[in-house]
Assembly symmetry: none
Homo-oligomer: 133 residues x 2
DNA sequence: GTTTCCCTTTACGTAAACGTCAAGCAAATT
DNA sequence: AATTTGCTTGACGTTTACGTAAAGGGAAAC
């Protein structure tokens, strides 16, 4: 009776997330997503959607697919032994450092954009005749 | 005595700006810089330095070389040419949107890292299989 | 039963931004 | 003169993230 777990086809996923079939199959090749196979067809479950979401966000953040895979792999680690947990914590810490560095660069870039835009608008407004560097 | 206009060699420029010779020649191929040629050698004038500076800043801001080319070309054109300024402002606005999306993604990711870490620590405390200090 | 779709795999192609030889000129030094 | 040093021009190689075409399966529609 219930949609205990809806599933999606590759076309639906591609449309919804704004990527092509090729992209999705490529991500599967890279081990970023692992949709179920019914015969030869791919069946996408909610967890595949979550992972794809993470992948796309990682891309927007400017990570390459290798790094993205390491990131998404962190999310469904089996709660394992203490050693593994410590290792995971280490990687989380490292990733956080990276992200915070990135955030810093981002702020710098936005500030520089503001500055360029400011000068640009000054040029546009200030009856420009000649300019010095 | 009259350093009325100092010039630089490709090696000096490369060292100073932290790029390789290959990069500089590539930028020349792309029409981003046009150093003087004395015989077969390249002679860099202050204006080449200015343009290279613009190129590198554009790269830091995340523009591709095609966009950068349009931007640095503005440098030689009648200052304040309305169309060109508008183009630059458009690119800046678009880039800012991307960066702000990125900042949002960053916050989400950092928050999720916190969450993963929290669960991870709960696991470590709740089901300790081995102890280590 | 055949056409129509959607999906599949395999495989080669592409673009950006250089890297990396290879081979050679030209001035400076020995 | 010979060597070294710095610069030059091709020209092919590299990586990432897919695009694109070829060839075909399986089921649903006609």
């Amino acid at each position: 009776m219930s949609d205990i777990e809806r599933t999606w086809t590759i076309a639906e996923i591609a449309l919804e997330f704004g990527v092509t079939h090729r992209t999705i199959r490529f991500y599967e090749d890279q081990g970023l997503i692992t949709p179920e196979r019914r015969g030869t067809q791919r069946i996408f479950h909610p967890r595949d959607r979550v992972r794809l979401e993470l992948v796309l966000r990682g891309k927007r953040l400017g990570f390459d697919l290798g790094q993205i895979r390491r990131i998404v792999d962190m999310y469904d680690q089996p709660p394992g032994e203490a050693g593994q947990l410590r290792y995971l914590l280490e990687r989380i810490a490292a990733r956080r450092l990276e992200l915070e560095q990135r955030r810093h660069d981002l702020e710098l870039t936005l500030a520089e954009l503001d500055e360029v835009e400011r000068r640009c608008r000054a040029d546009a407004a200030g009856a420009p005749k000649s300019r010095r560097s």
